[in-house]
C-alpha cells in the first residue's frame, strides 16, 4: 500500500461519509455544508488524478458558486429551516433498495471488466493549454464550447425570468 493509496482511501471515506450526511441530515444548512465537504474531497481526487485544473475548478464552481447559491436558497425558504423532523419521504425504503441495486450493479460491471491498474502514460505539462486549444479548434470541441455558452446564457435568462417578478404593489 503506497502513500497515494492511503490518501485516496482517506479521501474516499470522507467523501462517502459526508455524502451520506448530505442525503440524510434533516437540517438543510448542514446538508449544504456536508455537500461542500464532499465536493472538496472530490477535488482532492482530481489532484490524485493529476487533473489539477479540474481540482481548482471544482472548488471555484461548486464550493464558491453552487454551494453558496444553495445556501442562499435554503435561507430564502425559511420554513424548511425549522423542519427538523424527518426529511425523508414515505418512499425511502424503495429508494434505498434502488440505490443499493444501482451500486451493486455498477460494482459488478466494474469488477467484471478488465481495467488497467496503472495509467498508460503521464499527463503532459501543457494539458491545460491543450484543453484550451481543443476547445476552440473546429476539429475539436468548438461546437460544444459555443453551445455551452449558449446553454449558460439560456439558463441565466430562464432563471431570471422565472424567479424575478417586478414588485407590483
Amino acid at each position: 500500500m503506497t502513500a497515494m493509496q492511503i490518501v485516496f482511501l482517506l479521501t474516499a471515506v470522507v467523501a462517502l461519509f459526508s455524502a451520506f450526511r448530505v442525503v440524510t441530515t434533516p437540517n438543510m444548512v448542514h446538508a449544504a455544508l456536508w455537500l461542500i465537504v464532499t465536493l472538496s474531497s472530490v477535488a482532492v481526487l482530481y489532484v490524485l488524478l493529476s487533473a489539477s485544473f479540474f481540482a481548482v475548478v471544482q472548488i471555484v464552481v461548486y464550493v464558491g458558486a453552487i454551494a453558496i447559491l444553495m445556501m442562499f436558497v435554503v435561507m430564502l425558504t425559511r420554513r424548511e429551516m425549522r423542519d427538523r423532523g424527518p426529511q425523508l419521504g414515505k418512499q425511502w425504503p424503495w429508494a434505498a433498495v434502488l440505490a443499493v441495486l444501482a451500486f451493486g450493479g455498477l460494482t459488478w460491471l466494474v469488477r467484471s471488466a478488465a481495467l488497467p491498474a496503472s495509467p498508460v502514460g503521464e499527463v503532459p505539462a501543457t494539458s491545460v493549454a491543450d484543453l484550451g486549444a481543443a476547445l476552440v479548434n473546429p476539429g475539436g470541441f468548438v461546437i460544444p464550447f459555443e453551445i455551452a455558452s449558449v446553454l449558460l446564457l439560456a439558463a441565466l435568462i430562464g432563471a431570471v425570468y422565472v424567479a424575478w417578478t417586478r414588485r407590483n404593489s
Binding site: 448542514h30 471555484v60 442562499f72
Partner: protein
Amino acid sequence: MGILSQPVGAIAEWLRNLLLGWGLSPGLTTVLLYLIGAGVLATLVQTWVIFLIWYERKIIGRFQDRLGPNRVGPYGLLQPFADFIKIMTKEVIIPEGADKPIYILGPIVMDAGVLMLWAVIPLMPMVGMDINVAALYTIAVGAFATLGILMSGWASNNKFALVSAIRTVAQMISYEVPTVLALLVPVLLAGTMSLQGIVEAQHVWYIVAAPLAFLIYFISSVAEVGRTPFDLLEAESEIVAGFHIEYSGMVFAIFYVGDFLHAFTIGALAAVLFLGGWRGPGAEAFPLLGLLYLWIKAFAVYFLVVWARGSLPRVRIDQMMNFSWKFLTPLALVLLVLTAVLDYFVAGWGAWGQALSHLVMNLVVGWLVLRYLQAWEKARAARRPVVAQPGQYPVARPPRPAVAETSTEAAS
C-alpha cells in the same frame, strides 16, 4: 550553491541530508521538508499580522492627525502584543441557540481561506510552489473566506448577523466577477496560470501594459476584503458590527487577523501579478533581494489600501452593487476583448513594443470611460429635481404618502 544565491535551496539540501542521515526514506524526507517549509511560512505570515496591525494603526493615526499607538515599547511597537495577550484572556462567549460547531468553524474557515493563498505566492526566484493553475487557485481559496462568513453569520442565531453575512457574501461574489476578469488579462499576456511563470514573463511590468486591469483588480479585491470604502456592512462608526457581532475573545481575533492578513495578501498578489513580483536589479543573482523587492511592492499596494481607508467615505450598498455590475464588469469585459485582439496583432513587436501598444489602448479606453462618466454625471445632474431656494432645504423631498396608502401597506 552558496547560501546567498540559493538560500532556501541550500537550507533544504542541508536538512534533507540530515534527515536522510537519520535513516528516513526519501519520500518521507520530502514530506517532512515540505511540512517544515509550510510550517515556517505559515507561522511567519500569521505572526506578520501583528506588525501589520501596528503599521495600519500608525498610518491611520497620521492620516487623522494623531500619533497612533506610542505607549508600549518603542514607537508603540509592542502595542499589538499587549492587545494579543489581553484578547487571549477574554472569554469566548457562545450565544444561546448558536450552532456550536459551525459557530467555531466559521472564523477558522475564513482565516484558512486567506492563509492558503500564501502557498502559491512566489517569494523569490525558484522559491514558492509552482502549480500550473496557481492563478485560479487564488480565486478558489477565496471561496473558503466567503463560506466562513456565511457559516458564522448563520450559526450566530442572530438576525443582524445573518442579514449582514448574506449581504457581505452578496458583495463578495459581486466583486469576484471583475476580479476574475481582470486576472484573466495577465494570464492571457503571460500565456500561463502559474504565478512564477507570470512573474518571469514580466520583462515589462504588467502595470504598464494593463493599468486598467490593475485598477479593476485592486478595487475589486479591496471590495472583496470589505475594507473601507466598501466596509458598509460592518461599519464600526455607524452600526455595531457585521456578521461577527456575536463573536468575542480569541474567536473574534481570528476574524480580525484574517481581515488584516487578507488586505496585505491582496497587496502581495497585486505585486506578483502586475508589479513584477520579485523582479528588480540583482534579484536573479541574490534571491533574498527578490524577497525584499516583493515585500516593498506588497507594502506599497497595502499602503494604497490603508490610504483609501484613511481618506475615502463609505459608499451606499446600491452604489456599491451598481459599481461592480454596471461599471467594473462591463469595463473588464471590453478590456479583455481589446487586450486579446490587440495582443494577437502585436505579437512580434518585442516586450516594450507590446507593452507600449497595450498602454496606448488602455489610455484610449480610460479616456473614453472618463468622457462617458462625465456625460453620465451631467445627464444625472440635469435629471435631479433640485431647486435650491433661500431658506429651503436644498434637496427635493419625497412626497408624503397619502394616509390611505399607508394603511393598505400596513394591512398587507
